[in-house]
């Protein structure tokens, strides 16, 4: 069965529940303004439009096609609604993710301690309640590279990792700044990491959701056969 051009479901009530044994019913109703054609499936409206503005025969033919195989018809209507909803959800997702990224700009002043940062793969495992017991940052440099770490409630947390053994002046300066108030700066680095996470998530969401909406347009073009 090919898809329907006229009949459609809108999300209402228990949106995914359709009566198992119902057939589509056509009614012509004289409203105060003008006669309308109504098609219902149980409690759900499948079509409603002014008779003067539509091709009644085409809609009736589609109703007959639905009633010839209601089970397949229900699946098609649900699939069409799912398509439409997902496109809408994708757009909402983009909007919400974009707003999160915009809001992230205002979370707090940046720590300004580059190149120090919380390790990208570990930061969310760090318990923020340990911020009050953050040690001074320590630089360790040897032939294998340079590491800066702190201890937060006894947990060793790297703030900088490099395979270069040469100590950089900017690193020394950042560590000195950090050590002026480790607890506050640790919190600021944590906030930086969260902000960066929101930015990247927003970018990923936008990319995926735009691809989804593009696909949805393409699929809609293929339903018209």
């Amino acid at each position: 069965m090919s898809r329907f051009k006229h009949l459609y479901l809108t999300p209402q009530g228990s949106i995914w529940d359709l009566p198992d044994d119902a057939y589509a019913v056509v009614e012509f109703i004289d409203t105060p303004r003008r006669p309308v054609m109504n098609v219902t499936l149980g409690e759900r409206l499948l079509y409603r439009n002014a008779v003067a503005e539509i091709d009644v025969d085409a809609v009736t033919a589609e109703v007959e096609r639905f009633n010839a195989d209601p089970e397949a018809g229900r699946k098609h209507l649900l699939a069409d609604m799912a398509d439409a909803m997902l496109e809408g959800e994708a757009r909402e997702f983009i909007a919400a993710a974009s707003r999160v990224a915009q809001l992230a700009d205002h979370l707090a002043p940046a720590a300004g301690l580059a190149p120090l940062e919380l390790d990208w793969d570990q930061w969310w495992q760090i318990d923020p309640t340990s911020h009050r017991t953050v040690s001074q940052a320590t630089i360790t440099a040897d032939d294998t590279g340079t590491v800066v770490h702190v201890e937060a409630d006894g947990q060793v947390v790297p703030l900088f990792l490099s395979t270069l053994s040469r100590r950089m002046p900017t690193l020394e300066g950042a560590v000195a700044a950090f050590n002026y108030d480790p607890s506050t700066h640790f919190r600021a680095l944590h906030m930086d990491a969260i902000r960066k996470g929101f930015y990247i998530a927003s970018y990923d969401a936008r990319r995926a959701a735009l691809a989804m909406t593009g696909r949805a347009e393409h699929m809609a073009a293929l339903i018209t056969d």
Binding site: F93, R99, A104, H106, A208, M219
Partner: protein, 247 residues
């Protein structure tokens, strides 16, 4: 830095969110705090900074009034820094709301997903190659100009099915590393050829849907990450000097 517990930016209909973020910081002279004593230890207070309500009329005891006065004094001392702090507090609150919206959207998408029909009706034939006519957004689908045909690739000795399309090219519908066509392939080709354009559209749709579903998987993963970040932010707030109820 003073933590603002009583003064908060709020988003009202008369102060849309966009204005809050782009508005200049109200100056010290634009801060208005009204305090009225109504009983022995009960006061009514409200505050505005320019057109932004920072505190609707609220009852306080004398300790609360002292706290409010300290916050007002902090604002008067450093309007720019205080305004940034108020914006930051608002951002914290609203991010949690936006992440809940993302979670709701993801749940609704997950509910819709089982109803998508990604089956083309064919088990062996598939749309196997990128084609410039379907690659771009908004472009039309391909037009089939003849029947699909099975042939044995002379170079690789394997069965291949192609169909001609309107730009003179052929699209690949089957290509397997076998020496002979599997049972049922010719029957599928016959079924395809009974209605070539509808069949091709069904294959294209199935292909588009599988890509669509893959993007949904990505969005669900993003939602999980964003939720983790929001949770980390909430824990960070709770662990810091202020709690969410203070924001």
């Amino acid at each position: 830095m003073t933590e603002f517990r009583n003064l908060r930016l709020r988003v009202f209909a008369d102060t849309p969110l966009v204005d809050v973020w782009s508005a200049p910081a109200p100056t010290a002279g634009e801060l208005t705090v009204r305090i009225e004593k109504i009983e022995a230890d009960t006061f009514l207070a409200s505050a505005k900074a320019g057109s932004h309500t920072l505190l609707p009329v609220t009852a306080f005891d004398s300790a609360g009034i002292a706290e409010l006065k300290a916050e007002a004094l902090a604002y008067l001392t450093d309007p720019e820094g205080s305004w940034k702090q108020l914006l930051s507090n608002l951002a914290h609150r609203r991010i949690q709301g936006q992440v809940r919206a993302i979670q709701n959207v993801t749940t609704e998408a997950a509910d819709a997903r089982p109803h998508l029909r990604s089956d083309s009706g064919f088990t062996m034939l598939r749309f196997l190659e990128d084609h410039e006519a379907i690659g771009g957004r908004g472009r039309k689908s391909l037009t089939v100009t003849g029947p699909a045909q099975l042939f044995i690739d002379p170079d690789f000795q394997r069965p291949t099915v192609t169909a001609p399309v309107s730009d003179g090219d052929k699209i690949l519908l089957y290509d397997a590393e076998e020496t002979a066509a599997p049972d049922g392939l010719e029957a599928e080709i016959d079924r395809f050829n009974a209605s070539p354009q509808s069949s091709l559209n069904a294959l294209l749709r199935a292909r588009a849907l599988s890509a669509y579903i893959a993007q949904m998987d990505l969005l669900e993963k993003v939602a999980v990450r964003v939720t983790a970040y929001a949770d980390a932010l909430r824990r960070l707030d709770e662990a810091g000097e202020r709690s969410p109820s203070d924001l």
